[in-house]
Every structure is written in C-alpha cells, then in structure tokens.
Amino acid sequence: MMDNYRIRKIKDRLMRILVWSSLIIAMIPLFSILLDVFVNGARAIDMDFFLLPTPTVGEKGGIANAIQGTLITLGLASIIGVPIGIMSGIFLSEYHDSKLSQPVRFINDVLSGFPSIVVGIFGYVLIVSVIGFSVIAAAFSLAIIMIPIVTRTTEESLRMVPVAIREAALALGIRRWKTIIFIVLKGARKGVITGILLALARIAGESAPVLVTMGYWRWWFSGLNRPASNIALNIYLFAISPFENWRTLAWGSALFLILMILGISILVRVLTRGKYEW
C-alpha cells in the first residue's frame, strides 16, 4: 500500500519534470534563433544598410529598395484586405443570427490554416498570368492572408462592446448602421487596430507567396504593375546565394524583420493588456 503510494508520487514528480522540460526544449530554438539573428544581424547594420539598394557581388549595399518595396506592397495589401476583413468581422458580430455567419466563420478558420504558397499560386493564375509579375499580384495574395486574421479580431473585439451600448444608441433613434460604425466600431477600435497589426506582422514575414507572384527584383520600385523588392524574399535569396556580402545582408534583413515583428507584437500586447489571454 505504502509502496503504491510512493510509486504514484514518483510518477507525479517525474511528469512534472517532463512537462517543464517540454517548455525548456521549446525555448532553446527560440533563444538560439533570436541570439544568432541579433549577433549576426547587428554586424550587418550600418548607415549604408538603410540607404543603399541591393548591391552587386562584392560591392557595398543595403536594403533600402527592399524596405520601400515591402512598405508599398504591405500598404496595397492592407487597402484590399482590411476593409473586407473589418466588414466581415462586423457581419459576424452584429448579424450573428444570420444563417451565413456560421459558414463564414468556419471558412475563415480554414482559410487561416491554408498554405501561403497555395494562396500565392492563386494570385499567379488569377493576376500574374494576365498582367505579369507585379506588386498588385503580391498585394492581392497577401491580402487574402490578412483577411481571416482581421475578420477574427474584429469580430472578437466588437463582441466585447456591451449590448447595452447598442441598445442605448438605438433607443436614441440612431440608425443601426450608424450605431455600428460610429459607436460600436469606435469603441472597439483598439481591438480592430490590433488585428490589423497582427495581420501586417504576419504578411511582412511571408516570402513564399511573394516569390511566386512577384519574383525577384533587385532595383527600386517602378510601378504597381511591375515587381518590387521584398525584405522577406531577399532573406531567402541572399541566404542561398554563395556571395559573402549577400549573406551578411540576409542576417541584417532578418534582424530588421524580427525587430519589426517583435515591435508589433509588443505593441499588440500593450494595446490588449488584460483583454485576451493569449
């Protein structure tokens, strides 16, 4: 009897250790990646890094054109994706009794798990095969990746606005659509902005869909119907290249990208403090 109790206790201790060590094992690659990116990236970053475009072999250069191209592509993607995301978020939250809402929510969940390369190929067949490799095609594909993220966070944050506020507005004779836009949406703007930021952080790091819709571009932005340079895609091309100066730029770009994404996720944490558990 006593032995049985001891075995159970030992087992309990052992599992406690295992559960904690699973966390430690998962943290090792995280810290290794962050450390390597910071150490190697810091070496690559100087003034030229921010001011010069992609160099040719052996020359000095930077990622200025990639920063420009990425900002333009992300901007256009947001213009396409954010309104769709917010409107469907509004629909799911404010008209949740509709028959449509359950399928839409489900499709959104499924869409968020889709491989981004498939979304890229969709953009290729739909747009690239008509107008060629272009910022438009890349932005379209990235917008599709944004939509489920924005939709979901918009819905969640709108739902957190108390029903009493809607009722109060309606009781004052304010139309429902005005209530939704000027009162409910305004009250939930922090959450909506959070969603947009999260989506931007996600697509800033996407390189697979950019590769198949925009291809590789070493120069400055020269029109929406032509390719532009992209930070995430550059990391791939620089990393697999044999040139020393490109590999250095790969680490520098990685540091730039990670700082951008970390900055966004910390901002999101601050915005949503105490609101969401995750």
């Binding site: 559960v19 990646i33 491989p115 498939v118 190929i121 996407e206 697979a208």
Partner: protein, 322 residues
C-alpha cells in the same frame, strides 16, 4: 393600383437606402466574399493546372518521374511522400512537447505566469518561415552535421534509415525545423481545449486522492478529441510549410531517399524552388497541379481539424454550463 404599389415601394426603398438593410447587405456581401474566394481558388487552380490535368489526369498523384527537360513527364507521388514523411517526423517530435506545454499552461502554472509563457511560445509562431530557414542553413545544419548526426549514426547506423552520407540538410533536418514550427499552434489549441474542461472534473478526481499527474490524465482524456484536433491542425501547418523546408531539405527529386540524412523534396518546396524558373507551359501547369494537390490535402486536413476542435469546445462548454 399599380402606381400605388410602386409608390410604396419607393418609400420602402428610400428607407432602405437611408439605412440598415443596405449596410446589412454590404457587410453580408463582404463576408460572402471569403466563401467565394475559396470557391474561386478551386476554380483558378484547376484552370491553371488544366494542361497537366489533361495530360496526366488523376494519375499525376501516382507518377514518379519529374523531367522538365526531355520527356516533360511529371508525377507527384515522391513529393506527396516527402511532405507526409517530413510532417510525420515533425509530429513525432513536436506533439509530446506541445502537449506538455499545453498541460503546463492549463494545469501547472498560475495564469499570470502563463500569460508570459504563452507570449514566449507565441514568439515561435511570429518568427517568419524564411528566418527559420536562414537559421537552419547557418546554425542548425552545421550543429547537426558535426555534433548530432554522427552520434546517431554511430548508434543506429546498422539500420538503413540512418546509414549513408551525412550532408547536414535533408529529410530529418527539415522534420526537426518543422517540429519547432508547429509547437505554437498545437500547444495553444490544446491549452484552449484543456482549459475548457470543467473544474468539477478536476475537483472530483482530486477529492478521490489523485495526484496532479493523475488529474492531468483525466483532464486529457476528457479533452482528447480537442487535442487530436490540435494535432491535426499542426499537421496542416507542417504540410503547407514552404520556405524553411525548401531551404533545408536539399531539393532533390527522387522516389525514396536512401536515409533520413538524404536530400528529398516536398510539394511546397518544389513549387518555391522551381516555379520562377519553369520554362514550358506544361512545366508551369504541373507545378500548379502540385499546388492544387497541396490545396486539396490541406483543405481536407484543416476542415477535419476545425470540425473536431469546434465540436469539442462547444461540447465541453455546453457541459460546464449545464
């Protein structure tokens, strides 16, 4: 009579224009757009792979040759096998760790600390795939090649799976990185379903004198379908992962690799690696066909996973309410 109805219609329309019906309709249209988008995706991918579909038909997924230069014969079986194998390796290594983290978050540590821990785990998901690839090439591969694989081979080298030359990159390396990449999704979803188990279940077991681990076992068996759903979601991620895999797996088209250390290919990797260099129409079409196959596989996996997770969450919540 007729004019009267049209007049009332106008009044009705005006009321609509002023307001709510239209807004409702517009937002419904936007919401519908996501559903249409998925439909359009199926159509466009089919259209893009039409040449290949005509030439190889459904046998495409059983074909084992990939010759873009001479015969223009394409088949995806090795790619599908590559995707499934790397994903299986990722699950074998990632699932125990993820469930451990899920349990830690839901059962072992207080909420305040859990907030911080989940932020750290979430960071793993925030790191872009391409940076995993970069880190894999310059840090992980040299480390595995020099410090890990030789020892594995010394112990298990008699098995064909672990024999042969060690390049550094290859099937096992890709699997390891995939395992790291799927930890966040599996641990976060399993934490959700484990936390959703009603407290009465835990209290009942504890009152019978159960240890913490025995309580965990009960909680896990209660949330089992949800945890399985979480694992399938992780599988979905592993199947679609592109850049990190294409940078680490070695990108060689072969029916079967000679060992875990050998180079291979996955569906996503071949698209990323060859798409921009594809010259002939059939070649491009075959690559899109691979994309269509990947789309269908991940659609099935994701739909199954979401259905399971949804049902569990609803079931568990329903019980706790009642």
């Amino acid at each position: 009579m007729k004019s009267k109805t049209s007049f009332s219609k106008i009044v009705y329309l005006k009321a609509k224009i002023e307001g709510d019906e239209i807004f409702r309709l517009v937002s419904a249209l936007f919401a519908l757009a996501t559903i249409l988008l998925v439909g359009l995706m199926v159509y466009e991918l089919t259209r893009g792979s039409w040449l290949s579909l005509q030439k190889f038909g459904l046998w495409f997924i059983m074909g084992t040759s990939w010759d873009p230069v001479f015969t223009l014969n394409f088949g995806a079986l090795p790619l599908i096998l590559g995707t499934l194998t790397t994903s299986a390796i990722a699950l074998a290594m990632g699932v125990p760790i993820s469930i451990g983290i899920g349990l830690l978050l839901s059962e072992y540590i207080p909420k305040r600390l859990g907030f911080f821990v989940s932020f750290m785990v979430e960071l793993l998901a925030a790191i872009p795939s391409v940076i995993y690839g970069l880190w894999g090439i310059f840090v992980l591969i040299p480390f595995l090649r020099n410090n890990v694989y030789p020892y594995i081979q010394a112990v298990l080298g008699s098995l064909p799976l672990f024999s042969g030359p060690i390049y550094g990159g290859g099937v096992l390396t890709a699997g390891i990185v995939l395992a790291i990449m799927i930890i966040p999704i599996i641990s976060s979803v399993s934490r959700d379903v484990l936390s959703a188990v009603p407290h009465s279940q835990r209290e009942a077991v504890i009152s019978l004198g159960a240890t913490k681990w025995e309580t965990c076992k009960i909680v896990m068996s209660y949330a089992k379908p949800g945890v399985i759903g979480a694992i399938i979601l992780g599988l979905g991620r592993a199947i679609g992962e592109t850049m990190a895999v294409t940078m680490l797996i070695g990108n060689k088209f072969k029916v079967l690799p000679s060992s875990f250390f050998d180079a291979w290919y996955t569906m996503a990797a071949i698209i990323a690696n060859e798409f921009t260099e594809a010259t002939s129409d059939v070649y491009v079409s075959a690559l899109i066909h691979v994309g269509l196959t990947l789309f269908l596989i991940s659609l099935i996996v994701n739909v199954i996973a979401r259905l399971i997770v949804w049902r569990t969450l609803r079931l568990v919540k329903g019980v706790s309410r009642g």
